[in-house]
């Protein structure tokens, strides 16, 4: 049995009165894409900083490929690649110079650096821009360069803190394609995102909120935790439909989307909500209502309320 790529056990960290992490445990298998899904302030960055030995946990322990992070920080830094949220590229340096800088920082030999740089320029499709100043790259290209710099020492485990925040959807998809290619080469990837729809790109994930794990598993396993029904409701006046529904269920379970109202009937509320929708249909307020499969966000909302 080989050790998992990452294992954390009872990790806790507080800043003053605020518990950034409250006893978090999970394991990431080797060669998998693992998602840390949660909003800003959930504790994702704190967790990643502990894993990369940048800060110490108050309690608990973390291992990377079997190496305890606290006791073997230097070793862990060799095998881990880390792309923080605010990755500092040197905007006055060119693409090639930035890669060179990070190679020197990690003590990569000249021979290895030259070979690796060639690989990375192909992999990231940044070769045509090799002489461009980093400051003049688009947001999506900057992210690719930041990823290339984090990969210069050929890490076996890659830790990415919200790499796709602020990037447009097409560039975001390119970036995820790159991650998938790395994973196929055997790299283990731990990636965080506040965007629930990116969860489906990960094999396993944890939902994290206010320093606690709400759920963990595959997308399917987490979706199975959703107990209830999502109704999509249409009618001439969505505001009126929503107001009626909000009298029956908590306001945050009802939302008006562009062309429909969605209501979460959690647990036992299915019957009540169904009956109300039928009454509104007879009254001409609702023209159509149907059950739709719950999204990742719906599951997150239901778990937040438990």
């Amino acid at each position: 049995m080989s050790d998992p790529a990452i294992r954390v056990e009872g990790l806790a960290k507080s800043y003053g009165e605020t518990a950034a992490l409250a006893s978090v445990s999970f394991a990431v298998e080797r060669g998998e894409m693992f998602g840390l899904i949660g909003p800003d302030g959930a504790g994702k960055t704190t967790l990643m900083r502990i894993l990369t030995s940048l800060i110490d946990a108050d309690r608990g322990e973390a291992w990377v490929l079997g190496h305890p992070v606290a006791a073997e920080a230097a070793r862990v830094r060799e095998i881990i690649g880390y792309m923080p949220q605010q990755f500092s590229l040197y905007s006055d340096l060119t693409v090639a110079e930035n890669i060179r800088f990070f190679a020197d920082l990690f003590g990569v030999s000249k021979e290895a650096r030259v070979a690796r740089t060639e690989e990375l320029l192909d992999f990231s499709r940044l070769r045509p821009f090799v002489k461009r100043r980093a400051g003049a790259l688009s947001g999506g290209m900057k992210q690719k360069l930041a990823l290339s710099c984090a990969l210069i020492h050929t890490p076996q485990v890659l830790v990415l803190d919200e790499p796709t925040t602020g990037v447009d959807p097409a560039s975001r998809r390119d970036f995820w394609d790159m991650l998938e290619r790395l994973r196929a080469q055997g790299v283990t990837i731990l990636v965080s995102t506040p965007y629930m729809n990116e969860a489906s790109l990960c094999r396993h994930m944890v939902f994290i909120h206010k320093g606690k794990i709400l759920a963990s598993g595959s997308v399917g396993e987490i979706a199975a935790l959703f107990s209830g029904t999502v109704f999509s409701v249409e009618g001439p006046n969505l505001q009126a439909i929503s107001a009626r529904l909000r009298n029956t269920v908590e306001p945050e379970l009802v939302r008006i989307l562009g062309d429909a109202v969605q209501v979460l009937a959690l647990g036992e509320r299915r019957g009540d909500v169904g009956a109300l929708l039928e009454t509104m249909r007879q009254g001409g307020i609702v023209s159509d209502s149907r059950e739709i499969p719950p999204g990742v966000e719906d599951t997150f909302v239901s778990l937040m309320r438990e």
């Binding site: 990037v167 447009d168 945050e252 062309d259 909302v301 309320r305």
Partner: protein, 242 residues
């Protein structure tokens, strides 16, 4: 009603040889939530800058709240509200002081800001935070404060730039509840975002690519037109020209 709150006709902007916006036309109804989507460099930001009176068109034109974007940009600036995810709130000021500051920017008296704060308190849920430093607010409340600061002067059109990026799903729902209520009162909402979690709240979406509008319609219409299951897939198809 159904008057048009924003009308854009043949609007174009170039910077030297670079065409940033290439003869686009669209209309937004009063009380509509209208989303403007596009990759970086698609022309979204240039369009918004022209609509908010910050940039003059090269050709074409339009009206915002009835004011001409070629000539009446000072009036436009006064009748719109603008809120960005990259909040311009002052972290060291209290919530109340931030509201006073932004009220002052919009030319409201101290007394008027107090009245508006009282009116908005219930909807924004900021009452217990008024004397706290803004830095201490949870993200969801900061977003509501930023919205409050943007609507103190009762604008008829509000521009939102990734307003709920990164916030938890319940806070996002509460924020959009406020936006829906404003829209129901006839306030026009124009949203720019890279995130489909926000795009799906819009009544209509306008996708820009390479300075042009490549698709415009309700979320359901766009999905049907492009045979896609999600708006994100619609977007990627349009941008990649697949």
């Amino acid at each position: 009603m159904n008057e048009h709150s924003v009308v854009v006709k043949d609007l174009a902007k170039h910077f030297g040889d670079f065409v940033a916006v290439d003869h686009i036309s669209f209309e937004v109804r009063a009380g509509e939530i209208f989303g403007l989507l596009g990759a970086n460099g698609a022309g979204k930001t240039t369009t918004i800058r022209m609509l908010t009176g910050l940039l003059r068109p090269s050709s074409g034109g339009g009206t915002v709240g009835g004011w001409d974007i070629n000539t009446q940009f000072e009036m436009i600036k006064r009748s719109i509200g603008y809120m960005s995810q990259k909040f311009s709130l002052y972290n060291d000021l209290t919530v109340k002081e931030n509201l006073q500051f932004f009220g002052g920017v919009y030319g409201l008296s101290r007394r008027r800001v107090e009245e508006r704060t009282a009116e908005l308190n219930e909807a924004l849920g900021l009452e217990e935070w008024l004397d706290r430093r803004t830095a201490a607010l949870p993200l969801g409340f900061k977003q509501r404060l930023a919205l409050g600061a943007a609507i103190l002067h009762k604008p008829s059109i509000i521009f939102l730039d990734e307003p709920t990026s990164g916030v938890d799903p319940i806070a996002r729902r509460r924020f959009w509840e406020l936006i829906n209520a404003l829209a129901a009162d006839g306030v026009t909402i124009i949203v720019t975002t890279h995130y489909m979690e926000e795009a799906e709240y819009c009544n209509r979406l306008c996708v820009m690519h390479a300075a042009k509008i490549v698709s415009l319609g309700s979320p359901a219409e766009l999905k049907e037109r492009h045979g896609a299951h999600s708006i994100e897939d619609v977007f990627i198809q349009l941008v990649r020209g697949a």
